[in-house]
């Protein structure tokens, strides 16, 4: 599965588990508007660490939380290399 597909699956799965309505995941979608809360993001980051073996937010380089869904995907693509 591609990194993008893995991320999309996690967003969808966590939205179901947390009983939240997920917006359609376009690259320019602002994460603030995607329907998930901060707790959901924490779960997604933990699951992606398992699935992709990386966690961009616990690396030594300070990383700001991405603004859009596209930024989020690119961040993981960059770290997964």
């Amino acid at each position: 599965m591609s990194i993008r597909a893995t991320i999309t699956t996690q967003f969808e799965q966590v939205a179901v588990e947390q009983e939240r309505t997920l917006a359609s995941l376009a690259d320019d979608l602002k994460l603030i508007d995607c329907g998930l809360d901060s707790l959901s993001f924490a779960i997604i980051v933990a699951r992606l660490e398992d699935a992709l073996g990386v966690d961009p937010f616990s690396s030594d380089q300070a990383v700001d939380f991405p603004v859009t869904f596209g930024d989020f995907v690119r961040l993981y693509e960059r770290f997964a290399k």
């Binding site: 707790l39 779960i43 980051v45 933990a46 966690d55 030594d60």
Partner: protein
């Protein structure tokens, strides 16, 4: 098997906690800088008994930057991480007015920053499992005064505030967070207490005795058990009635 991390599990209260949890069938990973002979003996006894497990990982909790990698490797080896007992601590005492600044910073680093950062990374894994237990070892000096322990007391009180708010944050995901506040127990940390002082503490306690490491271990075991599933955000005081 459910895995539980016990920091400071090499001796004192932490060793007692780890031994008790392993005897109850849990897989315990003790963290400290050095493995002790007492720990090796206890681990051998657990192997002999054939129930639970007692592992050791050397790590200096003063190295905050290494904590993420530590948790990541523990998760890979011992998943699922069900419990975290933040027990490691230092008990530097001294009159504040003459306490070196570095000692104050070190106290806060080991007793506050380390458990917070460790919890951050362990709780993430608990979140994705929708289950977990965190127990923070505070102290009765978080709520009563004791001469020479102002900096130490501040770190122990910090853990109580942390316990309450984190309990709210992760409660919706089925994770509980509690604190245990022991009274004075005989360990290396309290070794410098004189006979007179120990007598005074005993006389001031409703039960006229000191707390043993096994009493603290029992309280932690309870908070990690299924019986405590509806207890979160609280502090369980184990002090033989010293603050009653």
């Amino acid at each position: 098997m459910r895995s539980v991390i016990v920091t400071g599990g090499s001796r004192g209260l932490g060793l007692s906690i780890g031994t008790r949890l392993a005897a109850g069938g849990l897989r315990v990973i003790a963290i400290a800088r050095r493995e002790t002979p007492e720990f090796s003996t206890a681990a051998a006894a657990v192997r002999e008994a054939g129930r639970g497990a007692l592992h050791f990982r050397a790590f200096d909790l003063g190295e905050t930057r290494g904590i993420a990698a530590l948790v990541s490797s523990l998760h890979k080896e011992f998943r699922p991480l069900y419990g975290l007992v933040n027990n490691a601590g230092i008990g530097t005492s001294g009159v504040l007015a003459i306490m070196p600044d570095e000692q104050i910073e070190r106290l806060i680093g080991i007793n506050v920053t380390a458990p917070l950062v460790l919890s951050k990374y362990v709780v993430r894994h608990m979140m994705s499992e929708h289950a977990g237990r965190v127990v923070n070892i505070s102290s009765i000096v978080a709520s009563t005064g004791y001469h020479g322990l102002s900096a130490y007391s501040a770190t122990k009180a910090a853990l109580i505030g942390f316990t309450r708010s984190l309990a709210r944050e992760v409660g919706p995901l089925g994770i509980t967070v509690n604190a245990v506040a022991p009274g004075f127990a005989d360990t290396e940390m309290t070794a410098e207490l004189g006979e007179g002082e120990r007598d005074k503490i005993m006389r001031r306690s409703a039960l006229r005795r000191l707390v043993g490491p096994e009493d603290v271990a029992g309280a932690v075991e309870f908070l990690l058990s299924d019986q405590a599933k509806n207890i979160t955000g609280t502090t369980l005081t184990v002090d033989a009635g010293n603050t009653a």
